[in-house]
């Protein structure tokens, strides 16, 4: 059975055209008219497949590889058998990602479930005061709240709930069962199923009769090209805003507390958590299950290993891991 059955018929593309579009040099121009239609891992790539190598780890597999072409960095080109076309790129991961995006456009954002024409489902509930731009898709049982604005080309999947006054930019995708409130989202944002954006932060004042709720009146700002993984939670600010910067990618089951400000192009892996009011710079990488304390700063470019506990501020460019000893996290 076709392992890629969910992405349907591909549009074949000529190898030389592909080379141009992924900014790579084709080692064998004589086969530029070969048609390519899929990607595959090196060990099972066939004559219509593109594959890639990033290191010498797969040299053995190379000897029997029957791929249409192999993407690689210049330093690895000599390891590829001379009869197999190489697509030589200074940025082979990027080139492969770009090739895959060309061949599988439907995998670039979550898709509608139903086979009927795209558009606005009569089974969705859309407030009469909402502003829906052209070419928006809204699936069944989605709810669009009062005065919400949905930009052109944005797709709202089944059962998603968009709260009152929320604004979503263009060409964004809101997965099924997502709830969004008290938030402004940019363009080309992808929110995967079950994400919660804009609910109350965890704020209470002590009192003799228990904790008293501190109303949370801030917002969530999600900038362009952000992607947020399934079932993650992004709380709105207490008085200011929670901000996720442009191009930042967040994995599944991640918690972002109120007032957290995250810079551009960060990566935050599954089940990590960032406590309230912490500021994170640009290009920060945070491993899975790592916890970041509240009210600290993580400098740009810092890399924090998985399962770490970070209690105090981290300078820009630092590479750290583990749980800091002798210190307790805030509770």
């Amino acid at each position: 059975m076709d392992q890629n059955q969910f992405f349907g018929a591909r549009q074949p593309i000529r190898l030389d055209e592909l080379a141009a579009r992924i900014e790579s040099v084709l080692s064998r121009p004589d086969v530029g008219d070969r048609m390519v239609e899929a990607i595959a891992p090196i060990y099972r790539a066939g004559p219509y497949d593109i594959c890639y190598i990033l290191s010498k780890n797969n040299i053995e597999a190379l000897q029997t590889c029957r791929a249409a072409a192999i993407i690689c960095a210049p330093a690895l080109k000599s390891y590829i058998p001379s009869d197999v076309p190489a697509l030589v790129s200074e940025a082979p991961q990027w080139a492969f990602a770009r090739a895959a995006a060309l061949l599988y456009p439907a995998a670039m954002r979550p898709q509608r479930e139903l086979s009927r024409q795209p558009g606005i489902s009569p089974q969705a509930e859309i407030d009469e005061t909402a502003l829906i731009e052209k070419s928006v898709e809204i699936s069944p049982f989605a709810v669009i709240g009062a005065r919400a604005v949905i930009g052109a080309g944005t797709r709202i999947l089944s059962g998603a709930v968009i709260g009152a006054d929320v604004k979503i930019g263009r060409n964004s995708t809101i997965g099924s069962h997502v709830s969004v409130s008290h938030a402004l989202l940019g363009n080309n944002v992808i929110i995967h199923p079950g994400v919660r954006i804009g609910q109350d932060g965890f704020g209470y004042a002590p009192s003799p009769t228990g904790m008293v709720k501190l109303p949370q009146i801030g917002r969530v700002i999600i900038q362009d090209y952000v992607e947020i993984g399934a079932n993650s939670t992004i709380d709105r600010g207490a008085m200011d805003d929670t901000v996720i910067g442009e191009g930042t990618k967040i994995d599944n089951l991640v918690q972002i507390g109120h007032n957290v400000q995250i810079g551009r192009h960060c990566g935050i892996v599954s089940q990590a958590g960032v406590a309230g009011s912490t500021k994170i710079g640009d290009g920060v990488m945070i491993g899975g299950q790592t916890g970041i304390n509240g009210h600290i700063e993580i400098g740009s470019g810092a890399q924090i290993a998985g399962k770490s506990g970070v209690m105090t501020s981290v300078p820009a460019g630092a590479r750290i891991g583990g749980t800091q000893q002798g210190q307790s996290g805030t509770i």
Copy 2:
């Protein structure tokens, strides 16, 4: 742009009236007729805003503060410039929370998405045997199961699913996409979006052909004034009940296992987990990402730092952190 655009027009209140309602002493009775309409952090509070200070950290900001009034404890009053009115309170955090609740009543519980009159959506599916009291709000695509009881003033948001025989008290709020089954909920409970209450605990018996499911026949009991954060999961008891005591606040992505009994006025921070059959006293604070083993007891008033691993029982009032060495958690 107004950072608090999601909470609409406020009802201004006189400063002297506010002082009385938050049980504070106004240092300048001559300005008691000033109108207050918002809260703000000290660094950007304007002439209609209330702000607060809890320590001397913000003394510098005080010098230029143009707030309508600043809430503070008696010991900090002397740091406030004499022309700025102080609202002096023995419980400044409580006083600020109370002021915010007066100014932003809509922030005290999740709100409906749609602009039409509150009530029961014709798009909801309500079993004919369910008992819905007066002034209940039910949003589109919610499901109310057989014989369920929903108390007066309770709000069920879009797509929430209330299982058969579930009882929910009065003035409670069930967020969008919440599922509740096998549970009794009290009054003034707030359940944020995506919470799962009442599904099977994780119970299996070993057998030669793999794990055999142990039916879970207990319930979940959630007492008054409990608040549960987005995407948290509360399993029902195996044979007895899982209990969340009055006033306890649970953050996002928290796991509460079957038969866990949690006392009153506890706070459990994001991504913490409590394994099955553990008993937690009153007023216990548990930090984020902390794991509590099963079948142990945490005494009242204990404080457990974030990212801890607690393998054995903890005495009342203890303050602990870190992962206990030389011991393995149950698996």
Copy 3:
């Protein structure tokens, strides 16, 4: 109030018939005609209840136990008062689980909310190209996508969203608000509320302008008798498949990354995470909040304690715990 109110009237069964069906020996054949109708913990079991003991811990409770019968291993039989019938089993946990399954069939899988006859709700949205076998139940506001196949006896609960081309076997149960895409599910699978199956894995290529999305074109394969707990997330493969083997049980809030392959009859406790491309053998037990690094192998029968961090491969049968020192997880 009956603590088991949610499971309704039971069908009483004769004690001797029960003994036969749970492959146990009844110590007092003279009372074989007693009727049994419930299970209970030993401290409150009454004359119509079955209870069980696994160790000598409850010997004191035994002295006053009024249960209809007590399930125990042969070695514990002598501790049971002679007038109380024992059901002696070589596998007492299994025998108790089997008895409970007989007495509470409704607790073996999530139930419909509504009281009307089972069947396909007119409020569900089912693509005209989907193939729905006989005796399928579909609750309100569920969505069944294009060309999806749902096997006989399968139950799709309220608001669940089944994506295009997904295939689900027979007698499986999909909980409320679950989303499934790019996946094949077997028979007798149970998916609890809020689970996310088949969304994109976390894959990006670095580039000078930030991370570039690597399309994820694999699938999720879930074999027979798998159970997955509330709000867990199972990402689809990047190019190959993510696989959950037969009979494996996964608890709540667990993350399974792309390309992970899990064997048969494993148990994975709440809030654990398995990073991409890791292979896990058969019968592996993983404790709560444990993180397993990517691209490693966990041998069959390994047992990993809760809150562990596993950075390198683990041999079959190993029993380990804690976080490996001197090593950073992949980020």
